[in-house]
């Protein structure tokens, strides 16, 4: 059974490819240290398109324009440069209205591109350039803590980690704002309400990491200008103690957040990286993996939903659950010494990572 995997560990070797969708220029070198805002590569596409009505300017039929061009298509021109001229009793000429490049002549118009649309690719993490992908980007490697979550608002950022406890019964309130400072990434159990969030943003926080969230907050979080990452999902009451403990252990350190949301098939997922000293750590696991005995998992259905435990058995013999639906099963040993039988496909592997060797 192949299920989704979440990496949530204090020590890992983390590699991320940063790649342009079209060829451009790579701006870093192998071995170079990069910060989250460092530009890895840049690609340019032509922009600022201008259609110059040369036929009208020269008062000639469109089909005669090509022979009147005094500059070649493809050539760069400066503002005021002559680009077309017609001789005769009343000679006329057309000049370039701006700096740019002539790209085409059609139907009496000359097309001039005056600008470039730049696509810049940021590192999005603190790390080291391990490999260059010529013209496209680079692979960056870092060592440290990696915590992946289940929902993000498609933003990137970084800041100093600050853990503030909260629960469904006691969510973050106005009084907690006093504890926050500009540039901090706030880690909390339950996503704050819309009005508290607004005040947090006004305080200049640079990111929010929350265990759980009410679905009604999604539209608000989507509009937030700072990255927001939800670790466990929506509507679940109890934040995960283990993950919160990882953040507590790293309080005060710089964390980079990439909350770009993958699709339903887990091609990527939002994550937080807290860099540490280089070490001999295992690599983060791919986002889909085979379920195996001994793995730690989170359960997403039934009475044990939301709980984490260890897989003690896996069976492909269909079992009929209370709903009447049959499916492959896994036995999961929970933290409270209970063992439950759950549908294998409703599990997510939690890769806690261990030191290699």
């Amino acid at each position: 059974m192949i299920v989704n995997v979440l990496n949530q560990a204090s020590h890992m070797t983390i590699r991320r490819a940063r790649k342009l969708s079209f060829p451009g220029q790579v701006l870093v070198n192998k071995g170079e240290k990069v910060s989250p805002d460092a530009i890895i590569a840049q690609g340019k596409l032509p922009g600022g398109i201008m259609m110059l009505d040369v036929a009208k300017g020269l008062r000639l039929p469109p089909e005669e324009i090509r022979s009147c061009l005094t500059r070649q298509i493809g050539e760069r021109v400066q503002e005021g440069d002559e680009i077309a001229r017609c001789e005769g009793t009343f000679p006329r000429l057309v000049r370039a209205p701006a700096v740019g490049q002539l790209v085409e002549c059609h139907q009496g118009n000359v097309v001039l591109t005056t600008d470039e649309m730049m696509t810049s690719l940021k590192a999005g993490m603190l790390g080291e350039v391990e490999k260059i992908m010529p013209e496209y980007g680079a692979i960056i490697v870092t060592w440290g803590c990696l915590v992946q979550g289940l929902w993000g608002n498609n933003r990137m950022g970084s800041g100093v980690l600050h853990v503030l406890e909260s629960s469904t019964e006691r969510p973050l309130g106005i009084l907690d704002l006093e504890l926050m400072s500009n540039g901090e990434v706030i880690v909390t159990g339950v996503c704050p309400s819309a009005d508290v969030l607004e005040k947090m943003l006004a305080k200049g926080i640079s990111g929010i990491i929350a265990g759980v969230c009410q679905p009604g907050m999604i539209p608000v979080l989507e509009k937030s200008e700072v990255p927001v990452l939800i670790l466990q999902g929506f509507g679940i009451n109890k934040p995960d103690v283990f993950t919160m403990a990882i953040f507590s252990a790293h309080e005060g350190k710089i964390a980079t957040i990439d909350t770009h949301q993958g699709d339903a098939f887990f091609t990527n997922c939002p994550e937080v990286i807290i860099p540490q000293d280089k070490g001999d750590y295992v690599e983060d696991a791919p986002l889909r993996g085979s379920l195996a005995i001994g793995q730690e998992v989170r359960i997403f259905s039934g009475p044990a939903s939301g709980q984490a435990g260890i897989v003690t058995a896996i069976s492909e013999t269909p079992h009929a659950f209370q709903s009447g639906i049959s499916g492959d099963t896994a036995s999961v040993y929970l933290e409270d010494d209970q063992e439950v039988l759950v549908p294998s496909k409703n599990l997510m592997i939690l890769n806690r990572g261990i030191r290699a060797g």
Partner: protein, 585 residues
């Protein structure tokens, strides 16, 4: 007991976002038959590696059919002639891949752009924008927009044959400039499906710059739309793009040679073909079409054909998985669930479903929420289809008023339903059929495979569709009447070879299940009261019909259209339980 594999085996692979099905077809007593079918979870590992899931399904199939399909190097054994192992042909359909980014340009919203949108919504492509005549007023900004969007596919349509040449020429010029500006790796494939008189111009200006496909005009004359040639060209192009992004798909496709395509296109082909065959078999009066519904984890696909009309429509969920957490979904679920509903329970489950779209409902409560979502998805998909193809005559208020001879369902959501009664309830509530409808289940995702294999061997789908490869869920009669609740609106008599199986009256507001055993061919006599419409020429008209047994047999849904649930939550729960009991009885 192992099955004997007959001559000329053909292997079909249907790869969906959740499951991979491997089907082995052979010839038995001079007819093609389904030897066996096995499924595995689609692997979807890094870079959309599908290999693991495919080989797992093939290994299961080898074991079950007791027939060698894979060699020691993990390759499908190809046999040019029967030799006791391997297959002569492989066919592959898939829906797994990032939907290619597409821009559509044409003339006006109600004409060519409408035809273009029907095309794009029938295929797994992501429409970034559609532009008409007004965009030509600002050519410079149009070029800039397209450069910025840099689509993988560019569909150019418009101009009935022989008209609007000037406007289309403007689009050709814009495209030509755009292609000059884009770097080679971003040049789109251009599909020209417009005024055919411009074909030489299109070729001259665009072929040297980008990959070009020319197909017949989507709308050669006003009101006449033909999407099929463009769909076929897009199907090939989508597969080409997906193969570039997935090495495993490219490798599997190598075995299948030309028989690789998208699930949606070939599902549509089979549905069109089936409707045509049915139309030939039956008189015009009863010829009211085929509807296929594939409710996948990633996409809902609806395909329907009736008479000369046909259409396919895809609704993707895989990019919008958090939308189900909206208030309208929760309210719909509340209406379906009645007193079982708790807001916290529903929101928690929806939250989990948004994270694991292929979740298996474990508890009765989860199942109840899940089945409500299935109803909602079906309704939404049918409504959307009806907007594009009004001949379907569907609306959540009145149901499927146009009627359909057969409804074929596929997808885990259906095949996993714990009982046939629950499945039938979901379908009846969402579709609300009129007249006579047979419900069939495609457990093995055969419909698209038959579409693609029919191109190679036309008799294969004929033989498979008339075999037991598709299981019968039941036949439904939906009489519609204005009579008061409890009034008799219809009389029925069902007789088999050994005499009368059922004889009785049907009352307004009831749901009745009459068992007709598997394999039995029965005679059904329907006598509606005056004013009761059973989908024939006029209300009150009845007749005698052949009835095939199997599944739930015959279901008479006399609950009216629309189906009205009680206002009180508790009462609605009792009502629902009574309906389920009626189907299970």
């Amino acid at each position: 007991m192992s099955k004997k594999v007959p001559f000329s085996p053909v292997l079909g692979l249907a790869i969906g976002w959740a499951n991979t099905h491997a089907s082995l077809f052979g010839i038995k007593e001079n007819r093609y038959s389904l030897v066996d079918c096995q499924k595995s979870q689609t692997s979807l590992e890094s870079e959309l590696d599908l290999g693991k899931g495919v080989f797992e399904a093939l290994h299961k199939l080898e074991k079950q059919a007791n027939y060698a399909l894979i060699d020691g190097s993990q390759r499908i054994i190809k046999a040019s002639r029967p030799q006791g192992k391997g297959v002569q042909q492989v066919a592959l359909t898939t829906s797994v891949g990032e939907w290619p980014k597409t821009v559509l340009v044409g003339l006006n919203q109600k004409g060519s752009l409408r035809a273009g949108r029907l095309l794009t919504e029938s295929m797994p492509i992501q429409l970034l924008g559609s532009f008409g005549l007004d965009a030509l007023d600002v050519q410079a900004s149009m070029i800039e927009t397209v450069v910025q969007l840099h689509p993988e596919l560019f569909i150019l349509t418009g101009g009935e044959d022989g008209s609007n040449a000037g406007v289309i020429q403007d689009w050709i010029d814009i495209l030509r400039i755009t292609c000059r500006l884009l770097p080679p790796s971003l040049k789109p494939t251009i599909l020209f499906a417009g005024n055919q008189a411009l074909e030489p111009n299109v070729k001259r200006h665009l072929e040297p710059l980008s990959r070009l496909k020319i197909v017949p005009n989507l709308q050669p004359v006003v009101g006449e739309i033909n999407l099929i040639p463009a769909q076929l060209a897009l199907d090939q192009e989508i597969i080409r793009i997906w193969k570039k992004k997935s090495a495993s798909l490219a490798a599997l496709s190598f075995f299948a040679k030309d028989l690789t395509g998208t699930n949606s296109f070939y599902m549509g082909r089979t549905v069109r073909w089936l409707a045509r065959v049915k139309g030939l078999q039956e008189d015009q009066q009863n010829q009211n079409g085929i509807l296929a519904l594939d409710l996948g984890v990633g996409t809902t696909t609806v395909s329907a054909a009736r008479g000369g009309d046909a259409g396919t429509m895809m609704t993707p969920h895989y990019k919008k998985r958090f939308e189900i957490l909206g208030d309208s979904t929760v309210e719909f679920i509340r209406q379906c669930m009645g007193s079982e509903y708790t807001q916290q329970g529903v929101i928690e489950f929806l939250g989990r479903l948004s994270i694991i779209p292929g979740i298996l409902p474990e508890t009765v409560l989860e199942l109840s929420i899940y089945q409500a979502i299935v109803r909602l998805r079906l309704q939404q998909a049918l409504e959307k289809f009806n907007q594009n193809y009004p001949w379907l005559f569907y609306g959540p208020r009145h149901g499927l008023r146009g009627g359909m001879n057969s409804v074929i369902i596929s997808g885990d959501v259906f095949t996993h339903a714990p009982t046939q009664s629950q499945l039938m309830m979901m379908l009846l509530d969402a579709i609300q059929p009129w007249g006579f409808t047979s419900f069939l289940m495609d457990r093995n995702q055969l419909l698209p495979l038959l579409g693609i294999l029919g191109g190679l061997e036309p008799v294969l789908p004929v033989h498979i569709l008339s075999s037991e490869a598709f299981s019968t869920l039941g036949t439904v009669i939906s009489p519609v009447s204005n009579a008061h609740l409890g009034k008799t609106i219809l009389s029925l008599e069902i007789s088999g070879p050994n005499g009368i199986l059922f004889s009785g009256d049907i009352q307004q507001g009831t749901l009745t299940h009459i068992d007709v055993p598997e394999g039995l061919s029965a005679k059904l006599k329907v006598l509606p009261k005056s004013g009761t419409d059973i989908g024939l020429e006029e209300p009150g008209m009845g007749g005698e019909y052949e009835l095939e047994g199997g599944g739930l047999g015959l279901v008479v849904d006399a609950r009216g259209r629309p189906i009205k649930g009680a206002k009180d939550d508790e009462e609605r729960s009792f009502q629902r339980e009574a309906w389920i009991n009626a189907l299970e009885g």
